[in-house]
Each structure stands twice: as C-alpha cells, then as structure tokens.
C-alpha cells in the first residue's frame, strides 16, 4: 500500500473498470470505483489524500459535468480524465477547469500511474495548506476582542501612538497588546501578520486595504 491515499475511479464500462481496478491494486493503491458520477457523489469525502480518475463520456452526468458538480460542492479533488475518444476542445475545457491530466484509452500504465502520483501530491499539498489556514484561524480565535481590535489597526498601518490615541489609552499598553498578538498569531514580522490578516480577511472595517489597487 502506498502512503495513506485513495484513488477513486468512475467509468460506466464494467470491463474497463474491473481491469483498471485490478491494475491500480496490483500497483499498490487503495481504490474505490463507481459506475456513474451520481453514485460517486453520494459517498462521504475521504480524509486521506485522494484523486479522481473519471471517464469523460458517460451516459447521464458526463465527466465535465462531474468536474463542475465537484467545484460547485467545494470538493477540490484533483481529477484525471480518461476517454475512449478525446477531442481537443473537450480536453482543453477539462484542463482549463483544472484537470491534472487527460489520457486517451488505451493508455500506457506509466502515464496513468504518473498522473495519479502527481494528483495525490497536489491533494496532499492542498490539504496541508488547508491545515495551516485552519491553524491561523484558530490562533486568531484565541485573541481577546481588544487584541483583535488592536491587530486591525496595526495591520492597517497605524503607529502605536496613533492606535493609542484612537483607543484612548497609552502607547505602552498598545505595545503590550502588540507583543501578545505577535506571539499568539505566531507572526515573525509585521509583514507576516499583515499577510495573515489578508488570509483571514480581518482588516479594520472602514480602513482601506493597504494593498495597492492594481
């Protein structure tokens, strides 16, 4: 078994499905397969890195429809399309919508396995990024309301003195808050804090974003 991962296969052709399932199992992957897109859409999302291998042409919901459905549902699972007959416009549409690869049946074993590795790696990175964001969010939750207020001003570019005046307190207090904020947010620099604020979307209301309008 390769690291913790799952390959999901959607193809309406039973014989092709069985052979691909067999191939991926032999190559050491955990695999789940489905005869149609709706069947797959009903399952719970796996909590390991996963990727989707799907036929483009299927009766009912086709591959591109499935891709659209997943985007709408916010499930950013990397997709590898396979098709019996791939025309250029379809492949371009699929790749533009973010597909990892587009393979024509019959394909070389290596092409499929490479594409799956690439897709799983992409999902792994995406999952880590989501974890990191969740941590930033958690850190922010741990700030007191006053600290959040101060942070809003800090990242909007106000000097301690100015913040103190705004909040009717002394500069020293602001300095104290500021140190706490940096520590709790695990921010190494003001720039890092500003970036986190951007990710959280918590600039002081009314203050314009410090980023130049492009």
């Amino acid at each position: 078994m390769k690291k913790e991962s799952l390959v999901i296969l959607v193809d309406d052709d039973p014989s092709f499905r069985r052979s691909t399932e067999r191939l991926l199992r032999t190559a050491g992957y955990a695999i789940q397969s489905f005869a149609s897109a709706p069947e797959f859409l009903r399952i719970p999302r796996p909590d390991v890195p996963a990727c989707l291998v799907s036929d483009v042409r299927m009766p009912g919901l086709n591959g591109l429809d499935l891709q659209r459905e997943l985007t709408r549902a916010g499930w950013q699972i990397p997709i590898i399309f396979i098709t019996g007959h791939g025309d250029v416009p379809t492949s371009v549409r699929a790749m533009k919508a973010g597909a990892v690869d587009f393979l024509s049946k019959p394909f070389r074993e290596k092409d499929l396995l490479d594409a799956i590795e690439k897709a799983l790696e992409r999902d792994r990175v995406a999952r880590e990024e989501r974890t990191r964001l969740a941590e930033v969010r958690r850190n922010y939750q741990s700030l007191t309301p006053r600290e959040r207020e101060v942070m809003g001003h800090v990242v909007s570019g106000l000097l301690n003195k100015q913040i103190a005046a705004k909040l009717h307190t002394v500069e020293k207090t602001i300095k104290f808050h500021r140190a706490h904020i940096m520590e709790k947010m695990q921010a190494e620099s003001l720039a890092a804090l500003v970036r986190m604020a951007g990710e959280l979307g918590v600039f002081q209301s009314g203050a314009s974003s410090p980023w130049p309008k492009v």
Partner: protein, 1136 residues
C-alpha cells in the same frame, strides 16, 4: 632636482625692495621653490620662461608696476592662468587689482602664516582649476555641468575670499580666528577634491555602461549596474528600478537592492500616485521625500515601509527620447535625507542613460519580434502551399488557378485537370487567362471557339464575377470532347482586391450523352406525336394534361389551350371514369405499365365520343411514373355505322316476318307487277301509279346494271328458275340505292308459269356501313404501320396474324420472310423465344402482360406490351430499350457509389462514439495486459489469477472485434441484394449503432413497432442507411433543445400505398423543426444545415426508398420538431 622642482610648487616674487624679497623668500623657501626679481619687466620675462605656479608682485615697481605685470600676464595665452597675488602697503589699488584679475591683494606688513595660507589656497585653487579643465576634457558629455560646477565653486571661493578680505582689512586682531576659517575652507576644498574624483569615477562608469549596451540585449544586469552606480553615488541604502507597463499603467520592479520579498510583493505593481515612484509617475518629474513619516504620499503604506526600514527616498523617472515615461529609478535612505543638487544631476544622467538602454533594448526586441512574425508568416505560407499542393494532387476535380494582375496567368492545374484536358501539363501553364482557350481546347457548348472575355477565368479575374455551373466543352488533342461544368470565382486579398481566380470544374460528359439520347428519343416521339393520325395526349400524374396533338383537339372539339386547362375526369363520360381510374392506379402502383379501354368522352359541344384509348405510363429510373402517353382512336363513326347496320338488319328480319320488306309479284300472262308500299318507297315512287310495269322498273335501274338485270330476269323466266340479283337503282330524285332482289317462280297444277313473287331489299345503308368499317380498319392499319414500335398480332392458338412494317423488318433481320410467317405458330418459328410462357399466359388467362427481356439474336433489350385482343388472340407492342437499360444500369451504379459514400459520411459523424466504443475494450485489454505482466513477473506468481486476467483480455478482444464487425456490416460496399426483411429488426440494428450517441446526448428513444408488421422486400444495408440517416437527423435536430424534450419516437403501422398494403415508419423528433421553404429543399442534393454534412443524406435516402417502390417525405409537427415518414410496400407473397 628636476623631480624636486616638479614636486614643489614654484613661486616668482617681484619686488623692488630687496629686503622684502629676502623676507618673503625666507618665509616660502621651506615649502616652495622661489625665484625673486626686482622689477615688472624682468618678472614678465621670467614668468614666460619658467611658467611659475604663482606670482607674488609688489604694486609699485620700476619699469612695469604690479597691475601692469598682471595685465601683461593675462594677455599672454601661455601663462594667463598663473594666479597673481599683489602686495601693497595701502588699500588704495585693491579694487583696481582685483578688477584686473588679481588672485589676492595683501597689505604689507603681513604675517608669514597669512602669506603661506593665501599662497597655499591660491595654488590649490589653481590646481583644482586645472584639474577641472582636465576633467572637462575627459567628461565630454557634460562639459556644461563641469563648468557650471567649477563656476559655482569659484564663486563660492570668491565669496569666501571676499569675506576674508573684509575680515582682514577691518579686523587684523581676529587674524587667528580668520586662520581657522581659512583652514576650514581648505578642508572644504579638500573634500571638494574627493567629490570631483568620485564624479570622474561615476562618469567613467557611465561610459562603460554605454559601451556594454551596444553589445548586450539582456538589460537586467545593465539596469542593475546603473542602480548600483546610482546607489553608490548617492550613498543610498536601498534602491530599485522599475519599468513602466503602458498597458496596465503600472510600474513593475525589475532590479532592486536591499528589499525583502514582502516589500517587493507589496509594491509589485505601482499605479500613478502610489508612493514616491507613483507620485513621480503622475507628475512626470522627480519626487524627493525627505522623511516618509511626514509625507502624505506614504501615509497609507507605513507598515510595509517601516518593515523595510527606510526614511527617505528619491524617485527619478526614466524619460524616453519621445518624452514618454519608460521607468523609474528610486533610491532609499535609512535616515531622513535630501540628496544634493549635484548628486541629483548625476542621477539624471544615469536616468537618461538607463532610458536610452531601455529604448534600445525595446527597439531590438521589436526588431526580433518583427523577424519572428515574418518567419511565422513564411511558415504559414509554406503550410498553405503544401495544403494547396495536396489538393491539386489528389482532388478528383479539375482545378485551375491563376496568378495576379495584370495578366492573371494560369499558374497551376490539379493533376485531375491535366488528365482530363489530355495535354502535357507544362504547356498549360503561364498563359494569361483569357488567352488559354486554344491551349486548353475550350469550346462553347455549341462547339464554337469562345472569345477571351467569355472565359470564366477571365471574367472572374477581370470583373470579379462569380460563375456557377457553366457548361463548357474541352476538345482533347485526340479529337474527343468532354463536357464540363465550371465554377469560377475571384480570389481576393484582405483589402478585397482581386489577386487571382480559381476555376473548379467537373466532367459531365456521361450526363450529356444520356441527355442527348433522351433528346433524340423525344424527337422521334414528337414527330410521331405530331403526325396527327390518331389523338394523342401526355399527362402527368401531378400536373394534369400538358401536351395534346391536333387530332385529339379535333376529336374532342376543343382548342389546344382549352384542352390543356381540362382534367381527364371533366371530359370523361361519367360511367367510364371508374374503370379508367382503376387502371390508372394500377399503373401508378407499378403493377402494369399501360392499358387499353373502350372509353367515352364528352365533346365540347356535349356530344358523346366513343374511343379506344390506350395509355402508357412512362417511368423514371426509380420506377415512379413521370407521365402518361395516351392514344385515342375516335370510334364514334364506326359505332354509329355498326348500329345502323344492326337496325337495317332488324328491319329486314321484321320485313320478312310482317312483309315490311318491299314485295312484288309479276304476272306472267299480263306482265303486270304488283308492288307493296314499301317497295314503292324503296324505289322513290310513293306518289306514282299503283300499277307498275317491268319497263318502269328497268328504267329505274342504274344504266350500268340495267342490261345485266334484264338479261338475268329473262334467263330466269325462260328457265323458270329462282331469280336473285343485286343492283342499283336511280330514284326519280336522282339518289342511288342498292337493292337486293330475290324471287321465286309460281306454277299452276299443270306446271305452267303463273307469276314470280319476290322481295326487294334496300341494301344501301348496309353497303355504306361496310365501307365505313373497311375505312376504319384501313386507318388503324395505317396507324399501326406508322408506329415506330414493332407491332404484331397472334391468334388464339399462337399463330402470327399480322405484322406492321417495323415488325416485318425485324423478322427479315432475323432471317424470316414475314409473308411466310403469317399463319405459323410463333414459338415453333422462334424456339428460342424467351417470353414464351408470358405469351401463352396472355392467351390463356386473357390478362395484359408487359415484360422486358434481352433477345440475343437481335443484340437488344426489348420491352413487350402484350394485350389480349377481341378475337381471342393477342397483340404485342415491342420496343427496343437497350439504351434506356444501359443508362439505368449506369445510374444504378452511380447511385450505389453515392449511397456508399453517404453511408461512410454518416458513419464519420458517428466516428467519435465508435472510437469510444472500440477504445473501451482496448483500454481494458492494455490494463489487463499490464496486470498480467506484473503477476507473471511477481515472485509468487498466481496462475489462477493470471488465468482470470487472460480470460478477461480475450473477452474484451472479442467485444472489440464484434463492434468492428457491426460497423463493417454498415460500411460494406456491396451490390444491393433484396431479401425479406422485418423492419423492426432493421430499426433495432440502427439503434444499436447510435446507442452511445443517444446516451451522451441524453436522448430517449421510444419505439412503437407492432410485432405483426408485414415484412418488406429490400436491401438490408440500404434500408439501414435510410433509417440511420433519419435517426441521426433527429439527434442533430435536438442537440440544443431542453433535455426533457429530447425524445425520438420511431413508430410503425400498416398502411396503404397506391392502393396496396404497405408499412409506414414514422421517425419523430422534438427539435427545432423546419420552415415550409426548408421542406421543399430538405431532399435537394447538397442542402444541409449540418456543418459536417454533405447534404446528400436525405436525397440518397429518398432515392433508395423510391427504388424500393416506397416513398419518403417529411412534415413539420404541429407543436415542435419534425416527422419523417418512410413508406415501403409490404411483401406480397413468398414468390416476390
């Protein structure tokens, strides 16, 4: 010594007073090399000779005083720059001295240090002056700058010196203080020296950069160096250079020094007004921010700037030769700061240099882009060229291309064109279009030589004309002619100017030949038609009567135009209509080709006309009836004659029964004649005497018959025998009657003759009727003789009874004497007769039969129309149809080819889904193959598992092969073959083929085909093609309608076609339907609404259906979409 004198500055002292000279010498000799003279003249000479570094002169001297010496020196170019310090014991001439150019003015007595400081300062200034001059020479690009700088410094010095002067003159006690200032001033000068050295270095750097620029296109490192140089010059802590992107109106950093990534990301894209560089971009001039904390430009960016760590910044725009902003050079300082004007001027120089670099780089890049564009165009042209070559090589069409103006010469012919023209390809090129008629053998359709301006290429190239389907003849060198259709158009460039012309043409010789044959045949028919011996008409089943001849007009009493407005039903006698319609329908249904009937008509004047009508359906190649030819023989006269005859015979019989026949008795003894009233009427003697004599009778007999009758009567009375005679009488009114006379002698007991009793019958009407019948028969014979078909009759036992002229000629050709054939049994005379069975069937069953057969002895195909005749025999019209047969055969072949092409095209539209179908099993095979390899090469190979995988591979391979077989079955090109078919199965096969397309397009199919649909006889592949075409049309039609509406219905039911049982299939879609105009064009060739279609599908489908004796039509649905109907005759019996 030389080295020593070169190292130490030389001072020339001129003073009359020797003690002063000595004193000064003592003060200076430690630091300078001193030369002392006593008067001005000597001093001038010494200065000219030695060029001292400085001259110290007393104002009052013999021969030439101080001011005079000063002026003399200033007027001598070689020594004019030597600084001169004047010494005096009063202030009196200070102004004069300074005005004359004295470097300094010193009042005696002076302190040694004062003197030394002043001389030092002077010498230093002179040295710097020289150096500046030197620099100026070196820094040729900016002489003004250096000069200004120098002037500025000189002024500054002069100001310092003036103030010093004032201080010295007023406050000698503050001399020491003054000294300090002088020393400070000297330090300033020393630092100035360093600055100038720095400037020199900077200028050299600029030169180097300019030179590098000439060789390198990569600008980044150069800009980096410019930035480094600027930062070094300004002692800046950070710096960056940005390029201006006119599209986004933003500045983008290209090189930088000292900034973190955060800062660079933040200021990655600076718009007008943002920060100092944005402000400089907006104002189009340099912006200096001495402290970012106080400048509003930076108010909103403080966090990031604080993080970056600078306080001051200057941003100088890089301005191009055209005045536009190319970029920005900014330098930043950790502390609040303002760069000096001098520094800024150098920044300007760098900025100009950088702008120059960027512009040159952009020019070079533009040059490269232009070259790439040119290369790309060349490549494209090359590709277009090779595509054109392929077309010219392989297109099965004649294609001729011309070059451009003014001659538009012919530059290329497709391979096919050259073959068709039949001349050496090289002789066909480089001829101005318009002059190529003879080289190409071009002739107008009437065979004459065309004028240049008639040629399609000439018209297309010179007048921009588009020519469609114009007919031309090409005469080949071997004299053969081919007919072709030209389609010619101008070729235009992007401005719409005509730069050539293209002519696409294809051969239609075969078509022309068929047309010729048809025309000849029509011509023959037309002559016959107009011969006028018999009434003739041509009628179309749809358009009614379209041609009648004069004879028919005469028979029916209408003008031609009137008759063409009538329908048969209108002029047919009502009682005869049903029989005619029944026969007509049989012809339409294809059961018979013609029929004959006795039929009555209503003349224009209301009279009833009797006729024998013979109608013949003329069929198209597909078997449908194009028009009818009807022959009409007016038999009214004949019938009337027959009726009169019948009536007179009846009168006769009645007369014999009740003595209405004229009767008479001749008394032998008296010679008196008794006569009945009727007899008197016959002889026209109603008003005459009641007793007649033999003489009176004799007088009434026609003079030609009189003698014969008198003799016959005398003989009868003499021999006492029966008397019978036919003769004519001439009535008193002059009319002639034919009379048949019969009499018996009557004897008494003794055997003596008493009298003759007789009857006289008026035969005139009968005679006349017989004459009419004879004439009518003659007329029919004449018609039969003039018919170009062979015509012959057989008796009920198969003996020849009659031949017309043509038939007789045919018999002669076959080596038989027609005269001897009469009375001989047909199949005995011609044992090889191929249709003997049909002939015998007509005779036995009394049904008309038409057959077509090839008669080898004649080498011709013949068509026989055999009708049972009234005498129990039959009549046969025989016609040669070899030409028609051959044309039909060729047409059938061409249609089969076309059908195959269309079938392949339709399959092409299915290609994507077919590829998918095949690649499914192939994909599975490859996967399983890979698994098999893995299993087989694993250490613990599992043969059970391997077997399972291999079975799957075989199953998938079989599946792929089955799919291919299915496609091949539809694609195969084979001669049509009629078999008994169940349409339900044909529909199922077609649906299997399009199953995936239906699934993908989410189209539901509803089939409503009853189990008991009659079978039809037809070619499976062709009917599959028709249904595939209809189904594909339905699918296409619904490609952009709501999913809920995508339903394709295929229904079937029993029906009737031309009165015969048939099967009706309806393919119904809910697509966008079609307009009434479309309905008429749907079945036209090359009409298509599909981008990939060739527009032959429905056309071919219709002709396939029609050759099956069926019909194919379309109808827009009331609510949505369209329905295509396919009607095919039901199979009648196992025999057919």
């Amino acid at each position: 010594m030389a080295m020593d004198s070169a190292a130490r500055p030389r001072v020339l002292i001129a003073d009359e007073n020797a003690s002063t000279r000595l004193h000064v010498q003592q003060i200076l000799s430690g630091a300078y090399e001193v030369h002392a003279v006593g008067d001005g003249e000597t001093a001038l000479a010494a200065a000219r000779e030695h060029s001292p570094d400085l001259v110290l002169a007393d104002t009052i001297m013999p021969r030439l005083d101080g001011i005079g010496l000063l002026r003399a020196l200033r007027n001598d170019p070689g020594i004019r720059d030597i600084p001169v310090i004047l010494l005096s014991d009063n202030e009196g001439s200070r102004l004069n001295a300074l005005n004359a150019g004295a470097a300094d003015y010193l009042i005696k007595p002076f302190s040694p240090s004062d003197l030394l400081v002043r001389i030092d300062a002077r010498l230093e200034i002179a040295r710097l002056h020289r150096k500046l001059l030197d620099l100026e020479r070196k820094l040729r690009p900016t002489p003004e700058a250096a000069e200004t700088e120098f002037a500025r410094k000189s002024n500054r010095l002069r100001r310092a010196r003036n103030s010093l002067q004032r201080e010295l003159s007023s406050r000698t006690e503050e001399l020491s203080q003054l000294n300090h200032e002088l020393i400070a001033d000297r330090q300033t000068l020393l630092s100035l020296k360093d600055e100038l050295a720095g400037e020199l270095k900077a200028m050299n750097r600029l030169h180097e950069l300019s030179n590098q620029l000439l060789d390198h296109i990569e600008i980044q490192p150069l800009l980096k160096e410019v930035l480094e140089a600027s930062m070094a010059l300004l002692n800046a802590d950070f710096g960056n250079m940005q390029l201006y992107d006119p599209k986004s109106h933003a500045l983008k950093i290209v090189v930088q020094r000292g900034f973190e990534q955060d800062f660079l990301d933040y200021f990655d894209n600076v718009q007008e007004g943002t920060a100092s560089c944005g402000a400089a971009l907006e104002r189009r001039e340099r912006v200096i921010v001495e402290d970012v904390l106080t400048d509003p430009v930076f108010a909103q960016h403080l966090p990031i700037i604080n993080a970056a760590g600078y306080r001051a910044v200057q941003s100088t725009p890089l301005i191009g030769r055209g005045g536009e902003i190319l970029g920005m050079i900014s330098t930043h300082f950790r502390q609040p700061h303002r760069p000096s004007e001098r520094e800024l001027r150098f920044v300007d120089l760098y900025a100009r240099q950088a702008a120059d670099m960027i512009e040159r780089k952009r020019e070079k890049a533009a040059l490269l882009a232009a070259k790439e564009e040119a290369d790309r165009r060349a490549r494209e042209a090359e590709e277009a060229q090779s595509i054109l070559q392929a077309i010219m090589e392989y297109a099965p069409e004649g294609i001729t291309l011309t070059g451009g103006p003014p001659d538009f010469p012919i530059i290329a012919n497709s391979k096919h064109a050259a073959q068709m023209i039949g001349r050496d390809a090289d002789t066909l090129l480089n001829i101005p279009s318009g002059s190529h008629a003879s080289a190409y053998g071009l002739l107008l359709p009437d065979g004459t030589r065309p004028r240049p301006e008639q040629l399609p290429l000439y018209r297309a190239s010179r007048h921009g004309e588009v020519i469609k389907n114009e007919e031309w003849i090409i005469e080949r060198p071997d004299g053969s002619r081919i007919h072709e259709l030209s389609n010619c158009a101008p070729i235009r460039d992007s401005q719409g100017r005509v730069i050539g012309a293209i002519n696409c043409w294809h051969e239609i010789t075969e078509l022309k030949r068929a047309e010729e044959a048809l025309r000849a045949s029509e011509e023959r028919f037309r002559r016959y038609f107009e011969l006028g011996l018999i009434g003739m008409a041509m009628t179309s089943p749809t358009k009614g009567i379209f041609e009648v001849n004069d004879e028919l007009c005469r028979i029916l009493g209408y003008e031609r135009d009137e008759l063409l407005q009538k329908t048969w039903a209108e002029i047919t006698y009502p009682d005869d209509l049903a029989a005619d319609v029944a026969e007509f329908n049989r012809v339409m249904a294809g059961e018979i080709d013609g029929y004959s009937l006795d039929k009555r008509w209503i003349r224009k004047d209301g009279a009833i006309i009797d006729s024998i009508m013979s109608a013949q359906g003329m069929r198209r190649a597909d078997g449908s009836v194009e028009y009818f030819v009807g022959l009409f023989l007016d038999t009214t006269e004949r019938r009337r004659a027959e009726e009169k005859l019948r009536r007179s015979e009846a009168n006769l019989a009645e007369g014999q029964r009740i003595s209405h026949t004229g009767s008479w008795a001749w008394t032998a003894s008296s010679g008196e004649i008794f006569s009945s009233q009727e007899l008197l009427r016959i002889f026209g003697l109603e008003a005459g005497p009641s007793t007649l004599t033999h003489e009176i009778f004799l007088a009434l007999i026609h003079p030609e018959d009189r003698q014969r009758i008198k003799q016959a009567f005398d003989e009868a009375t003499h021999n006492r025998t029966d008397y019978e005679a036919d003769y004519r009488i001439v009535r008193p009114d002059g009319s002639i009657r034919h009379v048949h006379n019969l009499a018996h002698p009557v004897f008494d007991e003794s055997g003596a003759l008493i009298e003759y009793v007789g009857t006289a019958v008026d035969l005139t009407e009968r005679k006349q009727a017989a004459e009419l019948v004879r004439k009518a028969d003659e007329q029919i014979d004449m018609i039969l003789e003039s018919i170009s078909d062979n015509f012959f009759g057989l008796s009920s036992d198969g003996r020849f009874t009659y031949f017309n002229k043509h038939a007789a000629k045919q018999m002669e050709i076959l080596g038989k004497d027609p005269a001897h054939l009469i009375g001989k049994v047909a199949w005995e005379e011609f044992p090889d007769m191929p249709n003997k069975e049909n002939v015998q069937r007509v005779l036995a069953e009394r049904v008309p039969i038409t057959d077509e057969l090839y008669y080898a002895p004649l080498g011709e195909w013949v068509e026989n129309h055999m009708y049972p005749s009234h005498d129990g025999g039959l009549v046969t019209f025989q016609r040669y149809i070899t030409v028609r047969k051959r044309t039909e055969e060729e047409l059938r072949k061409a249609q089969a080819e076309l059908a195959h092409v269309t079938r392949v095209t339709t399959m092409g539209e299915l290609a994507a889904s077919i590829a998918h179908e095949i690649n499914q099993p192939l994909g599975a095979i490859v996967n399983n193959g890979n698994v098999a390899i893995r299993i087989a090469t694993a250490e613990n190979a599992s043969y059970d598992k391997l077997g399972e995988v291999l079975s799957d591979i075989i199953a998938d391979a079989e599946r792929a092969s089955a799919i291919i077989a299915q496609i091949r079955a539809v694609m195969k090109k084979s001669a049509p073959e009629k078999t008994s078919l169940q349409l339900k199965e044909v529909v199922a096969a077609v649906l299997a083929l399009v199953q995936r397309v239906l699934a993908e397009r989410r189209i539901k199919v509803r089939t409503e085909l009853p189990e008991d649909l009659p079978r039809v006889s037809g070619d499976r592949v062709q009917l599959q093609q028709v249904l595939l075409n209809l189904v594909m049309n339905g699918i296409e039609a619904m490609s952009d309608v709501d999913a809920a509406r995508r339903i394709l219905t295929i229904g079937g039911q029993r029906d009737h076609l031309a009165g015969q049982p048939s099967v009706l299939i309806a393919v119904r879609d809910f697509g966008n339907g079609f307009s009434p105009e479309d309905n008429e064009r749907l079945f036209d060739a090359f009409y298509t609404t599909k981008p990939e279609g060739i527009g032959m599908g429905l056309r071919i489908s219709r002709s396939i259906v029609e050759t099956h004796g069926g019909r194919l039509w379309a109808q827009a649905n009331a609510n949505a979409g369209a329905t295509f109907f396919l009607a095919l005759p039901a199979e009648t019996s196992a025999a057919s």
